[in-house]
Structure formats: C-alpha cells, structure tokens
Amino acid sequence: MSHLAPLILVLPLVGFMLVLVNGRSLSNRLVGLIATSVVGLSFVASCASFVLLLHDRSREVTVNLFTWISVDTLHVPAAILIDPLSITMCLFVTGISTLIHWYSTAYMEGEKDFRKFFLYLNLFVFSMLTLVLANNLVLTFVGWEGVGVCSYWLVSFYFDRESAASAGKKAFIYNRIGDIGLLLAMFLLFVHTHTLTYLEIFSSTSLLSPTIATLVVLALLLAATGKSAQIPLFNWLPDAMEGPTPVSALIHAATMVTAGVYLLVRMSPVLALSSSGRLTIAVIGGVTAFVAATIATAQKDIKKVLAFSTVSQIGYMVLAVGVGAYGAALFLMVSHAFFKALLFLGSGSVIHSLGGEQDMRKMGALAKWLPLTFPTFLIGWLTISGVPPFAGFWSKGDVLTNVFAHNKVLWALGVVTAILTAYYMTRLFVLTFRGTERFREVTHQHDPHESPLAMTAPLLILAALSVLGGLLDLPWAHGFSLTHFLAPTFGYVAPLGAQSTGLQTGLALVDVAAAVIGLFAAFSIWRSTVESPTFEKPFFEHVWHWDDAYDTVLGRPLEHLAQVSNDVVENRVIDAAVEGLAGSVQRSGEGIRKLQAGMVRQYALAMVLGVTVVVVYLVGRVG
C-alpha cells in the first residue's frame, strides 16, 4: 500500500511532465494517449488500493512522502491518507477523468492548443488528487489552489475571446475569496489545536470551544461556497461554461466543484461541535438548490442549463452535509458525477455535431441524427430527474429522506427543487432532441453527424454507471452500502435509525410524484413552443440579477476607488513625494552651485572667513 498510494498521486504528474518536456516532438495522438493512459493507470492503482484497504483492519493508512514544513511547533508532512473517504473520491475522480480524457482526444482534435489542453488536464487531476489524498489541511490547500489555477487556465482556454478570458478571471477571483475562508479555518485550528493534520485535529476536538468551532465551520463554509459554487459565490460557474465542454464536464460537474463538499465532509468531526454552523450550511445548501433550479428553467444555452443544474445538485449535497447525512451527500456526489458528466459529454456531442451551436432554440429533433448520443442522454435525463430505478432516484431520495428527519422546511424546499429539476431537464431534452428541426441554418443545410467512438464510448460507460449507480447505496442493503463503508470517517451521524419503512416508502413516492409532475409540465409546455412562455420571468434568466447586484455593491465602488487611488494617491501623493524629493535635491544643488562663481578671490575670502571663525572660537575658549 505504501508504494501503491503515492503512485495514484504521482502518475498524472508524470504524464504532465512528459508532455511538458517532449510536447513539441510528440504527435497529437501520442499526447492524448499518454495523458489518458496515466490517468487510467492512476485509476487502476486506486482500485488496487481500494482492495487493499478493504483488507486492512484499521481502514486508515498514512503514507509519509517527505517532511515538508517543520518549524517550531508547526509540523506539516507531505503525507497521504488512505481511508474510505479519500479512496472513494480517488476512484470516481480518476475514473471519470480517464473517460473524459478519452473523450477529449476526439473532441479537441484539430485544436491548435491540443497539447496545452492535456497538460492542464493532467495537472488538474494531479491537483485534485493532492487535495483528496492529503492527510493535512496545508497539503489539501495546495491541491485546492492547484485546481483553482487549472480551472482558470482551462476556462480561459480560448483566451483570445474576451468573454472566455474574463470568465477565467471571474472563476479564479471567486475561488480566491473563498480561499480566505480556508485560511482562516486553518489559522483558527492551528491556534487552538496546534496541529493541522486531520487525524490529530479529530482527536483533539475537545480543545475547541463551541464558538471557535462555529467560526471554523463558517470559515470552511465560505471556502466551500467559493469552490463549489454556492450562494453567495456561485455566479462564476455559469460563466465558466466558456471553457471547452470536456472541461465543464470534468471540472465543473464531477470533480472540482465537489471539493468544497469533500472538505466539509472531511472536517465532519469539527462540524459535529457546532449545530448553528451546520444549520447555516444546510440553509445555504437548500436555498442555493432552489435558486439555481429556478434560474435553470429560463436559460437558452444548453451548457448554462447544465451549469445551474450542477449548482443546484451541489446545493443538495451541501444540504445533506448540513443535516449530518454525510453518507447521503457522498452518494449523491458519486452518482451526480456519473450523470452530470454524462449530460455534459452528451451535450458536447450535440454541440460538436452542430458545429458549435449551443443555443437550444436552434436545435431540435436531433434524436434521429444522433443514434448513440440520444439514448445515453435519455438515460442521463431520467436519472437526474429522479425517475426510478436510475441512480438519481436513489441518491436524491437518500438525501431528502435524511433532510426530512431534521428539518421539514428544508425538505419541502428540496421537493420543490426536485420538481423544478425534472421540469428544466425535460425542457432541455425536448428542445434538443424532440420537436421540429431548427438547426438547418446553423449547419448550412447539412445533416448533423454522430460523434466518433472516442466520444460515444465514454457516454455509454457513463450511461451504464448511471443505471447501476443506485446499487452503491440501496436503503435496505446495510452491509454493503457506501454509507456503511464510509461511516468510520465521519464524526457524527444523524439519528436516522428511527424512520420506519412506511415513512421511507411514503417519501420515496413523494419524490417520484415530484419527478412526474415536472416531466409532464415541461412536456406539455415545450413540445410546441420554443420561445419563453409568459409566466417565465426574465428575473430568472438574469440569474436573479445577482451579477448586477455584485457589480453595483462591490464592483463599481471598487473601480471608483481604484480610479481615485490612481488619480489622487498615485499622481499627487506618491509621484509628488518622489519627484518632490528629487526636485528639491536638484533645486538645492542649483542653489549651492551658485557659490562656485569661479572667482579666486571669492574662494580666498571664504578661506579667510573660515580662519576667522576658527580663531574667534579659540579666543572664546582660551581667552
């Protein structure tokens, strides 16, 4: 295990270095092959480690790579922690990454920056694995920053487009604001527990008073909202759709945005100490899920719908975390990775077939042209809508059942959101694949073509996973479920046990009803029309004017401040001080220069006067 675990982490880095050093001499195909295979091998190593972990009694293995920081009382090793939580994350991160790498070899074919793309993707996988496998907060932070940077690079991949460049900046800046939270949490924890390693923190939680614990939890929540795109830092995610579709699938659906949830789950022993912190988390999760769902119902761009859908689903995960149902949150995370990646890659296939068109009003009736994309997308649609027996039904149901046990209001909100989810996804499906052909002018009267194998094969795999994903955590399988596997890593499990089967079945029926209502509503409205119906308010389409609000409250005042600083402070204060100093030196020099008139007699007079002064002084002293 101690040799295998570092391999998981190091392989993507090796791929990155290989492509970096040799990139120009390798053909595109070879670059794609190297990049994909290192991640695939990393996945294999993860599977092997998983198997080994199952046989390990303690279910917790720390592999020390090297001593990184060792100063006074601060000891931060570069070490890997293999426990159920991290190995689960590793498995689905490397698995989905491999599929997306494979997909990208076909999707990004013909791009001039092909090599750069795979460089960034490999580096991203490496950073994400660092984040997940680290055994201390500092190394996690390194990975955290790493994924932020790679996200920035990949979102602004088409950097000559103004919108892409600013989207990248926006993503990075929002992430950074969230990072303050993580730093504050680290500082607080270190001050009180004198350690930053997870296991040591968890064993010294008694040193944290409830206030401190709440502060730490809120700080971690801030970090999570930044990385996982929750309120109030969520509006970077829709803009991040400027990046290529595989990027959206990998980073903004399956991996990076789950990092926030991972962090909260990892720190669950600390969360256990603060009920107000957990309540805040739950409220934010629930509200975000609802708000994002309403926005998604009004979007015209296919990727934006999926982006807001991601925000909404992660809202569910955060809600589950807030309520204490960590197992449910993880289950939803894993199944969401499957079906959201499937949906994104499917939409990528659609976009690819239409030559780059992303506006749903210009799609339609693509079902007969895309014989492989269509059924896989159908499966994805049904999964996310929560239709049994697909994975979405089980995972979302798990979350809602747990929420019901703690907070009925949030549960109701969750159910409404589920209706909206089914609604907007059906709207997307209908507009894209059914209805009338509206794409002829975009494709210049050509027929759309199905995507190559490298793109459709991952779709098929993901579709299969979406179908079977429910098996991970069936409510009645207590021995072999994901929650059971993960239980040792959680600090506190919500008191769920007392729910009767009848109640659970009732809740499950409510979920199904929600899905069905949403589906039918969408079908009936969108079958015949393309333009927005009258009840749809532009408020939703404009993201509840969130961006505008930030601009007015923060953006413009800061810009004004910068302008004032430039005009006043820069020009009048700093420049004046520097130039004033230089000027005064110059002027004094010019003044003193006048003493040198070139007249010998004047110099002689000066000498005599000097002697006079000396003599007077001596007389004064002696006489």
Binding site: L605, V608, L609, T612, V615, G623
Partner: protein, 217 residues
Amino acid sequence: MFATAYAIPDVLVFAAAALCILGGALGVIAMKNPVHSALSLILCLLGVAVAFLEQNADFLAAVEVIVYAGAIVVLFLFVIMFLGVDTSKHPHVEPLVGQRWLAALGVVVTVAGVITLMVNSHWVSGVMSTSTGGTALATGADNVTQLGDSVFTTYLLAFEATAGLLIIAVVGAVLLARRERTADVDEIEVTDIEIEVGEDEGQWWIINQESSEEVES
C-alpha cells in the same frame, strides 16, 4: 619711557625695521602701478632683513636680501616688463559685492584674535625645543656654522628634497613659458569644395573637400 628697560639702539633699529616693513607692505597693496608695488616690496623685504639681523639670524638676513629682494622681486619686475602690465585702471571699483568689507573684517578679526591668543599664552608657542637644549643662539659666523650644521645634518632630507624641488621648478618654468611652435602651412590646393547652406541659422559646412597637400602641424 621704556627706553630705560631696553637699549635705545635696539629700539631704534626695531622702529626703523617696523616702519620699513609696514610701509612697504601698505605700499604693495595700495600702489596702482605694479612697478611701484614691486619697489615697495623690496623696501618691505629689506625691513625684514634688518629684523632678522636683530635676532641673530645673520645668514638669513643675507639670504633674504640676495634671494628674496635680489632674485624674486627682480623676477617679478621681469615679468611685469615682459607682459607690459599697465597701471590698473579702475582700482576703486570692486566688482565682487562686499569683498572689501568682508576682507577687512576677516583680516582684522583674525589678526586681533591671533594677537590675543599670543598674549594669553604669554608669547610662547608651547613647543619646547629638544635639539639645542637651551643653549643660546650663536651670533656672527657661528650662526652660519650652526645653521649649516642644522641643515646638513638634522634636516638633510629636507635639503635634498628642496634641491629636487628647485630642479622641478626650473623645468616647469621653462615648459610653461615656452612659446608654441606655429605651424608651417603649405599651400593647400583645393580642388573641390561643396558647400551646403544649412537651414538652421545660416550655418554652412564643407561636404566634400579634396586637398593635394597635407598640412603640417
């Protein structure tokens, strides 16, 4: 009268010497004609020589007259004649503002201060002699011997150095006073000159010039 404390001839000699010195000095600075100034300088130097004599510095008195009055001032006169220096035309005009007043002030204060200091320290410089150990200064021919002994034994290095200095001075003087050789210029046969009139302020310059003979410089 203090004549009872001091010998009258000594006082008279001192008075004469002092008169010559101060008179000559004032003459040097006051005369408009440089030749008159030089002659006043001679008067002053003669007074100094007498003062030397009075203090048993016989050899030095002689040297003063021979070298200072006889050579240096003569040199001054040579140069005055050589350059044809005229009587200064505007002696009363002082172009530098306040020069005279400040000079007078400075000099007066300095001299007064020095005298005050000397009074306070009882006319002794504070440096006690180590070489003669209190023996009286010799007079007459013995003064020469004593001085000669001092120069050629105690201060031999300085003596040799001044010898070198004199040679340097002579060489320097010769070099400085040399007239530059004027160039023998052959005729330049100019075949082609293009003159272009520049546009800035009427300048002109030679663009192309060919000459058949070189200029010796």
